[in-house]
């Protein structure tokens, strides 16, 4: 098995997949802690459906790089969801549900009506559940992902204390003069960026797993914010790495293998929590 692994690792595409996979897992887990605590767990899910719809429309117009369209549309949707979430008349969850099923339907409709591809259901399936495209990444895509991840991690570390303040108690933060809405929008934008990047990896249906599972696992056992963030990041990177390796060894789908690893880790941590309480 070790030999097979070494054999696979000698291929650049496997190394690319591992780099991109772990980086995306790292970024999504950092944001995940904040999103889960702010009760925005579903935002990942909603946004990924928007990204799916945008991708369908972008493919239709045959634009060279689809992320030129998908990225701004998803960012816009992220800000919109956060805004309406604060509106007392439309609740956050309803806004997200509306947006997410709406774009899913429109996306599929567009794909069906105008697609020139012979294998529509194959296309849809790979966009939803992640495709092997993680294994066909070009060098440029890997670099894009590396640069984006570095930016996300840097922003997160620099704004860590402010993000904590806004997450724990937004009103207090605002009362001391912090521009909370700026940070909320920033969190939304970064989430959108991560989701678009992660679509390659796990597909749009499974992205929220990357966002919520590491955070939930970490919150089971760790009792302070910094610890939760660090532990979640470690778990997420580990799961992504193991998931990708396993999927290569046993030729299983990449996305769902990673998520399965996340689920296993979640149950292990829940168990640790239960034992620790006793």
């Amino acid at each position: 098995m070790v030999e097979t692994l070494q054999f696979y690792l000698s291929y650049p595409f496997v190394r690319y997949a591992l780099i991109v996979g772990t980086l995306i897992a790292l970024c999504s887990s950092l944001l995940g802690v904040t999103l889960v605590l702010k009760r925005f767990s579903y935002i990942g899910d909603g946004l990924s459906h928007v990204a799916f719809g945008a991708l369908a429309v972008a493919t239709l117009f045959d634009i060279g790089s689809t992320s030129v369209v998908v990225m701004p549309v998803t960012v816009l949707a992220a800000i919109l969801i956060l805004r309406t979430g604060q509106n007392p008349k439309i609740h956050g969850d309803a806004a997200i549900a509306m947006l997410s099923v709406g774009s899913l339907a429109v996306g599929y409709l567009v794909m069906n009506l105008f697609s020139t591809s012979a294998n529509i259901s194959g296309d849809v399936c790979s966009t939803l559940f992640g495709s092997t495209s993680i294994l066909t990444l070009t060098k440029a895509e890997v670099w894009l992902c590396v640069v984006m991840s570095v930016i996300v991690v840097a922003v997160f570390i620099l704004l860590y204390n402010r993000i904590f303040a806004v997450t724990f108690d937004e009103n207090f933060a605002r009362a001391t003069g912090l521009k909370a809405s700026v940070y909320n929008n920033l969190i939304a934008i970064i989430t959108a960026v991560i989701i678009v990047l992660a679509m390659n990896l796990v597909g749009s249906l499974l992205i929220s797993a990357l966002i919520i599972f590491p955070a939930l696992s970490a919150m089971r056992v760790i009792q302070n914010f910094r610890g939760v963030v660090i532990y979640a990041a470690i778990l997420s990177v580990l799961c992504a790495f193991v998931g990708i390796v396993l999927s290569i060894l046993f030729s299983t789908p990449v996305g769902s293998t990673i998520v399965a690893a996340d689920i296993v880790v979640f149950f292990i941590n829940s168990l640790i929590c239960k034992i620790a309480v006793k």
Partner: protein, 236 residues
Amino acid sequence: MAYITCDNLILGYEGTPVAENISFTVEKGNYLCIVGENGAGKSTLMKTLLGLTPLMGGSITYGDGLAAYEIGYLPQQTFVQKDFPASVWEIVLSGTLSKCGRRPFFNKAQKQLAEENMRRMDIWNLKKQCYRKLSGGQQQRVLLARALCASAKLLLLDEPVTGLDLRVTAEFYQLIKELNEEGLTIIMVSHDIHAAVKYADRILHVEREKSFIGSTGDYVKSDFWKELGSYSEKII
């Protein structure tokens, strides 16, 4: 000049006025209690003072060395905080954030300030404890220490004894009284008008049409007290 001068405030949210013609001042060293029925605009007034809700009319001026946003705020607990994984230290330290300016991280002075206020609130030994595992009284002390980090001049407390049992409530009121005697200015929004009359030196009674502002002594002679105070005494 007073810390806060409010002139002819019109309070409301989303364009609907809740209370009008509210004028009062808060001087250094005051202990002001804001009382009134639910929906009369107490919370809106407080949010307006904090700059969380835009003013519909009138003016608020800060003076006597008090800057806007230099208010230590003790909010009501939100449901997010009930299971939030944060240590006491992290929470208290976050109160010093406004002193960071553009720096991304806390410096020594801020950490020292956090430590001082934690010792002052007698929670230094809880430093590494998780906030969600503390008792209600301890949680209030943590939030109080955080508020003290944000401002050494003025504290604004929003229904601070909600959910606390009788003994802890009495201890909490005593603590606030001591802070006031040490020179801190206190504004407290409260349901508990009997405690308000007992501890505060000034009362602001907010009501839809007209409001009362004056010393506690004047308040208990006023019609507001006759109506509300005697009524709630009968219930007790």
